[in-house]
Symmetry: D2
């Protein structure tokens, strides 16, 4: 209701601010008996944290996950799984100037408008660190659907473009394509919770996303029905379609083909160039956001895209057991 939870049967709630004592997630509804270790989760977290390559920001945090509940002797017990990562290396002073200034592209103004109060340190609740909980939860969800393979890759920009943006103290957008293989036909719910709709929801909930398309996506606008319709056939004893403009779903339910979708990420909002803005009194300000910022947020977003897709698929697999 308040926006911090995702999922129906497999429900994740994330909590925490960038510069609070810790950040974490509670996963409820995970079936009992699933093998999970801190190492499994850590592996995924390590993929999303900064400092992975010279293209990402140098902020170096261990982001070490602790399992606080719900796992006993290496297996889930059916009780809620509480995961926590302590915040370190916070350099609070770096952020003190943004207390009252609204950074372009950030949620400073809108959180003030909504709540009348805001933890301004490092973006507070709107920091990308919130996605730590998502990735940790995704690592667990992955164990529920071991046969399904979810991979996301960066289609754009090139390393060269990212490097150029960095040198110019600027940033650049990005495009990620995610492919999900081995999805059995029948996953997804009717009408409002179509698999596409839930994936779109999941993806647009990732900070910095501006668009989602599945299968033919926006190209379908120019296509004819005779072109777009994927004809059914039997292949290796399976019902498959000859083409995959649908992107793996029909009527919001998986059809056994690969699920293929793309997500657009805007350029990083925090840039070191001068920007015009105002403060919370309405006074004009000029801001330069110094510090450690990725020139392209999409670069580190692959594990987040994969985790959110995993959460949707695992949830729908559980729902399917009740039908």
């Amino acid at each position: 209701m308040a926006g911090n939870s995702f999922g129906n049967l497999l429900k994740i709630t994330t909590w925490g601010e960038s510069h609070g004592p810790a950040i974490g997630a509670v996963i409820d509804g995970c079936p009992a008996g699933v093998k999970v270790t801190e190492k499994d989760i850590q592996k995924e977290l390590d993929r999303r944290r900064p400092g992975q390559s010279k293209l990402t920001s140098p902020r170096n945090e261990a982001d070490k996950v602790e399992i606080l509940s719900g796992v006993f002797e290496g297996r889930t017990t059916g009780s809620p799984i509480s995961l926590m990562v302590k915040n370190k290396d916070q350099k609070s002073k770096d952020y003190s100037k943004i207390k009252s200034v609204y950074r372009p592209g950030h949620a400073d103004f809108t959180y003030d408008a909504k709540y009348g109060i805001r933890d301004y340190r490092g973006g507070g609740r709107t920091s990308a660190r919130e996605t730590i909980g998502r990735v940790a939860a995704g690592a667990i969800a992955k164990k529920i659907i071991p046969a399904i393979k979810i991979n996301a890759k960066l289609l754009k920009p090139t390393a060269k473009l990212i490097d150029k943006a960095k040198k110019e103290n600027d940033s650049v957008g990005g495009l990620i394509e995610c492919t999900i293989k081995n999805v059995p036909p029948g996953l997804g719910s009717p009408v409002f919770d179509k698999l596409d709709a839930r994936l779109a929801h999941a993806m647009l909930s990732i900070p910095g996303t501006k668009g989602f398309e599945i299968g033919s996506g926006f190209k379908c606008v120019e296509m004819k029905g005779s072109e777009h319709n994927d004809e059914f056939q039997i292949k290796n004893g399976k019902v498959l379609t000859k083409t995959n403009h649908a992107g793996g779903t029909l009527g919001g339910i998986s059809n056994g083909m690969d699920i293929v979708f793309r997500v657009a990420f805007k350029p990083t909002s925090s840039i070191a160039l001068k920007q015009q803005t105002i403060n919370n009194k309405g006074k004009k300000e000029v801001i330069e956001i110094k510090g450690r910022h990725d020139p392209c947020i999409a670069l580190r977003a692959m594990p987040i895209v994969e985790s959110m897709a995993t959460l949707v698929l695992a949830d729908e697999l559980l729902i399917q057991k009740t039908i």
Copy 2:
């Protein structure tokens, strides 16, 4: 949970199949004292029904709505509002052949895969008639947010292209842009229920949609941060941004600018041209879908897009009252 409901505080549940006795919706959580008449709802329903222009399908149904509960002496009482439209003019025989054949682009196969049973008459639950309940509910939600103006327009295709597709017994995709004006800053929820995420969910739940983008959308991929960031300014005493690449939200919360998003609709799947397919025994079949079908589903989708957006906005307005 089962996919037939949408909304948090303002919750709509739709029910009904194309060729059952009736189709409808229950709206729960509508505040008390809101003026609503059957006429208000009928006006919106009349916008979505077929036979509106020579470009849409000639199926002529009254789609007359009845308010069965929740409204007393012209005002909502806070009790659930039950709306019903009886199904008429069903021509059941037209659909008898599709009992066992999987139509390309339709959910026949996936519903069989999911449920093991399917009301095959006229698409059953997956018929576009299901959206009647959404539009009726949207008409009520509109009364909750009278100041907010939601309009959707068809950007593509041209009338000429639609006419051409029709003559060729084919169909064509479409692109709708929706603009929402007068949204106060602060609407939308954090993290998972960002306004963009909920709108994306709502739009991708509409039959035939393949993509959603907000503000700069997929164009942001090629943009730089210095270009994309919307600088804040004070104008007429209000906090506004100079540009609107964000499309009206920051961090998933409305920023007072127009909300602008686009939705891609695939070409109508039902076409009269010959298509290769299989039946539910895996045997090859050739199918020609005769009958009354719009050559472009986007043509009739504007009121559905608007209704779903209205439901999201009204819901978030109610949520905002609790913060």
Copy 3:
């Protein structure tokens, strides 16, 4: 959220007022392929309607149920099941005087306080006719758990006491005991959704209830642990307990013993005797509630108690499939 829905995976939403055009329920989440006919539902509805014996009120309504969706060729399809009963024999004039007078024991005042508007005809939304939807839904839920047997019986009062109350233009309370047999161990959820907690919720949601107890119930207050603890044993190869003070659950989860609970019903609030009260302007009034009213609401409540228990059990059975 707005209070008109019950259940998690198997969700029922009731709608309708006593004197509106109809009353009904939508059941969402019923598994596909369950055999259901209008006759099955009608049989249960006939048990709850008035005019069943000389002890109940003579209002004679057919209460004929119509299945509007979700059932195809005698089986559920997994789509929402919409059930409707048209209101007849309403004698609206009988109720016109209560427009502004607050009847003792009724919700007239509290609905005014909550909503500022109220459908006063026949109790409107608070009429016992709302339970029609519950009983109809219960008839469907019964099909999901065919092995589990749920029976409720009236422990008090005697027929003689009811007859006496009727003759005195008064009413009398009642006590119902419900026994659920053949519950497999393991049903119910931990912590907040204990089976006992959900049954208590379900029972106290029935109009006119004032108490719920399970197993030893309030008698446990005077008992010692050595007395109250049910010792485990193996009997016919099953884990059973020697006594059943627990009433069939431990830690909120069924233990394989009979679930036994009791529900207290207050005396019918509508009585023909003179009562002091006030109207909605705060002015004193004397009221005599003439008309057809049961002298003991518990008399007709057995099918409602059974239906609500059935809904809880069927829901938990579905949840158990996901663990």
Copy 4:
């Protein structure tokens, strides 16, 4: 869904096992700007922890709460509030024998039946330590409804009876009455989420409870309508009733009178006397549960009863803002 959350708009999720690293709760939906300190929460926790009097168990734990998120400079921010209490003084070895033996009155068997795996150390998830999260959350909810006063008192047993039970290595049940003052008329939801129903749900979710009654409770069974109906009057300009058999609600909605309910607690299941039971192989065992156990669980339950009632009332107050 999985049972570890409670509440609609104000939602609490508890996590943690008795002998895991920590135990805690996430509270989502708390309005922004509410003053909260760790001290406020600690005060309530100190009321529930053991070692408070010679009548309760001597296990001495600091139960020191940490606020991990959602509070900034002493005020809530509208973001989820994560609370954690580290587990100490666990004496894991004490519990090693119960690994395979089903303790009478405990959930060992039912958790095995449900999940097929169980954290047996100190009761694991079913330990009364789970209620720490509830009490901590209740302390925050209290700040949302400062005018409403909630108090619970122990009606039974006497200190003498508790002492006697302790000396006999036995235990005894208890009865708690909770009174809620200053509730404005209009709180509570219709039909399924009646205030009484939600309170019953909340109370029966507390470990060891066997019954709930409101107002006249089970006594209403023997009463007549003319006796039970509370007549309305105006007093000090307010609508009040002359008697309060209703216990503060009509039709599930508060009527402005005190809400009065009672909860029955069974005797502590863990007793040092010999008990017959079986193990998880079905073999007979004799068990004596040595260690630190309260002879009467009701003794420490007052803050838990109050916290659960507070959570319900605060939630309904938020809901009322949307109507």
